[in-house]
Amino acid sequence: MRHAHNIRAALQVVRAQPTRTALLALPVAISTAMALATLIVDAGLTARAQAAARSFGTDVISIRPGAQIIAGKSGPVGTLSDEDVAALRSRLRDAVAVEGTRIQDGVPMSAGSRNGVYRVFGVRPPWAGIRDFGAERGEFLSEADVASSARVSVVGQTVARELFAGGDPIGAEILVNQVPFRVKGVLVPKGASPAEGDRDARIVIPISTFYNRLYRRLHLDQIVVQAGDSSPETLASLEQQIRPVLREQHHIAGVAPDDFVVRLPDTIAEEARGLSRSVFLLSLGLSAVGALLATLVIGVVTQQGITVRQGEIGIRRAMGALPGDILRQVAIEGIAVSLLGGLVGLALGVPAAWLLARVQTLGVGFSASVVIGPLLLVTLAAMAGVLPARTAANLDPAAALRVR
């Protein structure tokens, strides 16, 4: 390697002054660690958000009753109806399916001596296809079940485990709010979702039975609309079609706000992030400021060091070093210090992200920016030595040696 001797000279200097090296590397280490932790946690949150959107269905739009409130939460106001579903079915060009559901939380259920509190979904059979939520074992609901308001259910994995303790629930009877239901099947496992909680802690019954046997209310709690594909254009266009239909159905005119909330997979993902984007940006901004500071510190300290090091630079020139040798040596000193800081930052940032994710129940993840961000930061700091290196290279060796 042609410039190996410059690397050697630079490393000799960096190694010889451990305190100075540590002080210069410290700001790089801190900002690298911070950027790394931020980006790792953000990648984790993004992955979690995407998983939430995926699990709800990347081609599924959800409509909930109620006015849009901050952060997309909506109150339970009975504004959605079967007529809305019919109107949407007939007028949405891009929709593959539209289904209304009734949902009740906190419903007491028991089987034998075991009991628990779960969520009940009243649906029609096509719902399973839209939400990709069919029966793993046994059977899902049939059109006949809906037509006859049959007291049959398909239970989630958590319900099956907790009420039947590992025994086979199919064919067994459970009491749902004191009403006996026969178990037809067990739902596919879905696990927990930030958007919906434990999605296995639910049972699914015919929507007609929900109304006739459990909760006698006409309104719907959710309408799901399945788009033909999950492209953002299709979803956005579908949303644009949904709003006028429902506003017309609900007789909302002019500038009056919607009495329903349309959520796209993106919205669901954003809600599922848990930590707002602004916290992430603030943290990333702080590490950027830290990086600038680290760069400035390396630049200024190295520049001032050149004055002190005139004798060293002069004697190296006298011994045959060219200005380019001095330039490379001083620049490599800056690179070495920055790299050291970057490595320490790596060693601190990864555990910090892991710890943060544990304590705050966030996620950790990996993306290109996890690599690129800290790399940019270290590169910036490494560039700080270039200007002082030019100063050093331009020193007149005769004048530099005159300094006593």
Binding site: Q12, M319, G320
Partner: protein, 233 residues
């Protein structure tokens, strides 16, 4: 190494930007193996002469031939390689790198020796032995006395086989007894064929050379051979 300098002129600007005539027509001829002391009052141009001869500075005018080669017009790359191989520098403040061991300090010129050894590289231990510092390889400059540090600097100047030593007040920071031993070392090196140019303002130091040059206002005003038994004139 033989030196043939003719009609050297050099003007530089001081810290206030005023032009200072450092060399005003210097003629100098030195044969290989001569030990030449250059003295004169402050600002007479003796350090500038040393820098021009040492290829650290270029004359404004005139010719500077080292072993018959016009070094003043060489590009910097060639001058740097020449300094590396053929010239050795010794300074009043030693200019050792405090963070390197004695051995690494002595070997420093090897970092900048790109084209393979011109002469067989000297063994550092032998070299240290020859300047009276046997066994100090792993020590650091701060652990050594001033005289010892100057010996390290001399060993460093010789490590690639320099045949012209340029010394600027090499005994300026040393006590008289130590200075004496360092000057003996220079005399010994001259006896073995190296050319030595030593700048000093101390007449006693100048008296140890084989030839004394007196400078004033950028000119050599006196050139005296010192009659000393055992030292070639």
């Amino acid at each position: 190494m033989q030196i043939d300098a003719h009609d050297l002129y050099k003007t530089y600007r001081d810290s206030r930007g005023q032009p200072v005539q450092a060399l005003c027509g210097v003629d100098l001829h030195v044969r290989a193996g001569e030990f030449v002391a250059v003295s004169g009052p402050s600002g007479c141009g003796k350090s500038t002469l040393l820098n021009v001869l040492g290829c650290l500075d270029r004359p404004d005018r005139g010719s500077c031939r080292l072993n018959g080669e016009e070094v003043a017009s060489w590009p910097e790359t060639r001058r740097a390689a020449f300094r590396n191989r053929r010239l050795g520098f010794v300074f009043q403040s030693f200019h050792l790198l405090p963070f390197l061991s004695v051995k690494d300090n002595v070997e420093l010129p090897r970092l900048y020796a790109h084209d393979g050894p011109a002469t067989a590289p000297l063994n550092v231990s032998d070299l240290l032995d020859s300047v009276g510092l046997a066994g100090t390889e792993e020590r650091y400059p701060a652990e050594l006395s001033g005289g010892q540090q100057q010996r390290v600097a001399i060993a460093r100047a010789l490590v690639l086989g320099a045949d012209l030593l340029l010394a600027d007040e090499p005994t300026g920071n040393l006590d008289q007894a130590t200075a004496h031993t360092i000057l003996n070392l220079f005399a010994e090196l001259a006896r073995r064929g190296r050319t030595i140019i030593l700048v000093t303002h101390d007449p006693a130091v100048a008296g140890r050379a084989s030839r004394k040059l007196q400078m004033a206002a950028g000119k050599i005003v006196q050139d005296t051979a010192v009659d000393r038994p055992g030292v070639p004139a």
